[in-house]
Amino acid sequence: MKISLNWLKEYIPVTHTVEEIANKVSLTGIESSPVTLGQGLDKLVVGHITSIKSHPDSDHLNICTVDVGEDEDIQIVCGAPNVADGQYVIVARHGAHLPEGKRIKHGKIRGIESNGMICGLDEIGVPEKYVPEAFQNGIYVFPEAEKTGSNALELLGLTDEMVDLDITPNRADTLGMHGAAWEIGATYDEKPDIKKAELDDSKVKELSDITAEVKDDKLVPDFLLRELKDITVGESPLWMQRRLWNQNIQPVNNVIDATNYVMIEYGQPIQAYDLDKLQENKLVVRNAKSGEKFTLEDDTEKSLSHNDLVVASGAQILGIAGVAGGIEARVTADTKNVLLESAVFDGASVRKSAQRHDLRGDASNRYEKGVDNGSVSEALERAVQLVDQTGSVSVISQEIVGSRTEAKPTVITGSIKHINHLMGLDLSSYKIMKIIDQLGFEAKLDGDAVTVTIPTRRWDMAIEADLIEEVIRIYGYDNLKGTLPSGMETSGGYSPKREFSNKLSNSLLSQGLDEVINFALLSKNEVKDFNIKETNLTKLLHPMTEDHEYLRTSLIPGLVNNVAYNQARNNNDVAIFEQARIFDRQQGEDRPAEVEYISGAVSGNIANDSWNTTKKAVDFYDVKGIVEELLSFTNAKSHFEYVATDEITNLHPGQSAFITADGQRVGYIGKLHPSYQSEHNVDDTFVFELNIDELFELNKRKVQSQSAPKYPSVSRDLAILVDKDVESGQIVNDIFTNGGKYLIDANIFDLYQGSHVKPGHKSLGYHLVFQNPNDTLTDETVEQAFDVIKESLVQKFNVEIR
């Protein structure tokens, strides 16, 4: 809410600039910014139209003679339909600056001299929707005579300086001028002088023609009414109107304006009804019937829910409680008798109704966050007083009570020591009591114990911690010196699994893969693409878009998107990985397990044409190398194997494998299926995905250091011819099975398949290395082992030794 300094001055002395006040309030209470209206506007004065005649060459223009407070009247041609002789109006003089850089100059309009412009409010900075209806399509006319030549902007409140409070939901007490005055006053050690509303006692009568009933006083703790008889509905005085349009409220008539004005003053919404339009002489606050119809003031119809709280008179719905008034009993120019309502409605109920019907407004905003139930009655009196002032009421009823809840101040007890302790300060009890007094709270000190009575206007306060906040913010956070917690030493750190996962990420980084972060919420298609474990999908109840509807079951779809995004931008060579969670939901469970994965994608070239290299496109074995290096960092004792598979739908059936650790699947690797690649607009792309949680369980190897071997190794080369479907892995496994304890390595150095070998066969060459860590190996020992290896290969795979 914007707090006008001119208005604030009625309660506390204002001795600082609006910038200083906004800054100080931000640091001690509520985030604020300074606002100054009318900046850059000038030469806007009050003019009095002394004569008017029609323009000879136009049927809608008039030639006005206007007294602008100078010796000679000036002539202005005006096209507004509502211009008339004798009006007091806003005149933009020659040279005047208007909003949006508009400038007024004298000139001729259809041949007639015009020395300025007569303005409407919307032309000088009041948004059109807040301009009183009578002046919305024309010039503004002052309600009373004003001194000609005086500053029109000032008279209209359009030079006001305001502090715009951006409140947090707990500080709705400052959604009224009184609350704001208390708050700003506390920061400047000034107690606001707030005058009580007073009624003309001679007019107050006991009437019994209207009753009120509240069905559920938990939802409606306070519901008070007053009748006002024989009022005159008309335009409000300018001082009230200008305060309203500066609050973004359109002045309507003296009754409606008074209700809005009181809402701004007290923060208490007030509702007005035309007494004579009520169906019954009784107001009832009840839940609506499901499907019950209600028509808003602007004639739109709402179908109500049984959760909506309504104010009704018989079958007639007057309004949704705390949210919106209706058309049925609206106060209009013809209204003679009025019923004013001041109530407290349950915040949650108001919030839900306002949301349900998309009707959030000034009143619902206040009810949602709370209102001071200690001022419900007084706010009603104040509204009555204002209507009486402007509408000369004949009779005012006593308060008609539908429900009333006693407003009890909260009592907070605290300890000076504990308060200081939590602040990390050592303030004297005198200083703390002084601050509490500055806030307008009454307090008693008894030794270390302090008992504070919180007025109902600060319903946000309940416990000692609230009091601590009040003390420290008024004392000033700037005066607080930082320290570090001084408790027992603790040893911090990552969890072992996090350390493990960092190690795996680092192994990929060091192999040149960039790390990416993708969204965990995927589309229905994406989430199925690599659901290798066929886990149950987890779906959001209310997704925002179809793109982000399901929890991911694999990191691959995100990585493929990244490859596509980059390749579409000519970043053709992409090597990326992601380390994040996937969601694995067991049948019958609501909650998915969160499993840490690490996955990568490599596409394009791993070497490019250059002055000394030729390009090389990534292939399966490049990515297998990356994975092997990563697995070497798992500290696992396990034996990792690559088991060819054609089961993974979106991978190439001839170039993919499950990765197993001692036979247990821990991930997979492969080339994307050509049709998946073309669907996703990526070049040949190889991916891998590994389950960190499973790898972490293998992380059991205890390293026992061994000296580097001191005896030479002996090597033998083995060339074989074998059926082309025999995998090299099978051969190597067999070599190791039979190679004896001195065989330490078996590397493939040659693979040939083609016209020089038997059809359906391939030729393989292996380099075997033998070593005895404790002695020099003899040729005889090696030859023996070599023979066993060869013999086994011949028997098992029918190989031909070459």
Binding site: K481, L484, G487, S495, I517, L521, L540, H542, N571, W611
Partner: protein, 348 residues
């Protein structure tokens, strides 16, 4: 010609020949030819018998000197030729060092992960554990245990992705507070923990909003923690991340799970408080929210709020990185254009 003159002649010619040599082979030949057993000096010395006995020692000395001198001349020349050869070889092997390298590329850690790790490591140094928590969380921990009951208006501030009535994508890493507090054994010392991770909000993605982003929650619960401890801790953090000259300030704010609550601003690192576009001409930049753990939150975890107190803070790695590196669109973090990613190589 006397033997004496003969030897001197041989010396002169030998030295001259050595100096004229152009190849090492010539010098080797020269050495063999002149100084060898069949060489002219040896030959000349055969005429010694004709020399009177008293002159013989002198001639002998001369002959040795001649050999030495020629030897020396050959060696000098050899050195010279060797030097020339090396110089030529080096000249021949000269390369263009401006030609592009054979690249040995290390990947780049995602800038958000770098930012998070930098902050984690700062707190690990202060004795904090790192506990990542759950991305799918119960309403109970995400809201209720944080003093945000079902009808609390604060639930509007963060629209939530629910999976069921009771399960949701966590909207804040503060959701880990309840779990950390209830499982901590206070007899073993204070609870000091940071919880980094992914959080989710029902937001439309645009330049400043993302339905998925990161947070780091920090929590200390002990018998003696205060608002001053909170300020000192965050001061140290902000100086670690944004530079040693940063000042911080607290402004009152509101979070349901802390009381008092504050917003924390740092003095603008761009203009040092003078006022600029980054700090919207205020000299200060809002970086995080914090406060003393609300007594209700402590009590709900079975902690006696009259004995224990807590400090809690929550910060956004996206915001930190955006401020620090001038990133203007939050979506850049999730598009993963490698040109964007790789510019952050080695920044942390």
């Amino acid at each position: 010609m006397s033997l004496n003159d003969k030897l001197k002649d041989l010396r002169k010619n030998g030295i001259n020949e050595a100096k004229r040599a152009e190849r090492l082979q010539e010098l080797n030949d020269l050495r063999v030819n002149l100084l060898g057993k069949k060489g002219p000096i040896t030959k000349a010395l055969r005429g010694m018998k004709d020399v009177p006995a008293e002159e013989r020692p002198e001639i002998g000395t001369l002959a040795n000197n001649v050999k030495k001198d020629i030897q020396l001349a050959i060696e000098e020349k050899m050195d010279e030729l060797n030097q020339q050869m090396i110089a030529k070889k080096l000249e021949d092997e000269k390369i263009d060092v401006t030609l592009p390298a054979q690249s040995r590329t290390i990947g780049t850690r995602h800038i958000l992960k770098q930012t998070i790790e930098d902050i984690e490591e700062f707190f690990i140094g202060l004795g904090y554990r790192v506990d990542a928590g759950h991305e799918v969380e119960e309403d109970h921990y995400n809201f209720e245990r944080l003093n945000i009951p079902k009808d609390h208006p604060a639930r509007d501030m963060q629209d939530t992705f629910y999976l069921t009535d009771e399960l949701l994508m966590r909207t804040q890493t503060s959701a880990q507070e309840g779990r950390d507090m209830e499982s901590h054994d206070f007899s073993k010392g204070p609870l000091k923990v940071v919880s980094p991770g992914v959080v989710y909000r029902r937001d439309d993605d645009d330049a400043t909003h993302s339905h998925q982003f990161h947070q780091i929650e920090g929590l200390v619960v002990d018998k003696n923690v205060s608002m001053a401890d909170l300020k000192g801790t965050l001061e140290a953090l902000c100086r670690h991340v944004f530079g040693p000259n940063r000042e911080i300030r607290f402004r009152p704010s509101y979070f349901p799970f802390t009381e008092p609550s504050v917003e924390v601003d740092i003095s603008c690192f761009n203009c040092n408080g003078e006022g600029c576009r980054i700090c919207k001409y205020t000299g200060w930049i809002e970086v995080l929210g914090a406060g003393l753990t609300h007594p209700n939150v402590l009590e709900m975890s079975g902690i006696d709020s009259t004995v224990y107190s807590g400090i809690a803070f929550g910060l956004g790695p996206e915001r930190f990185a955006m401020l620090k590196y001038g990133i203007t669109d939050i979506r850049d973090f999730y598009l993963n254009d490698v040109r964007f990613l790789e510019q952050f190589k080695g920044v942390n």
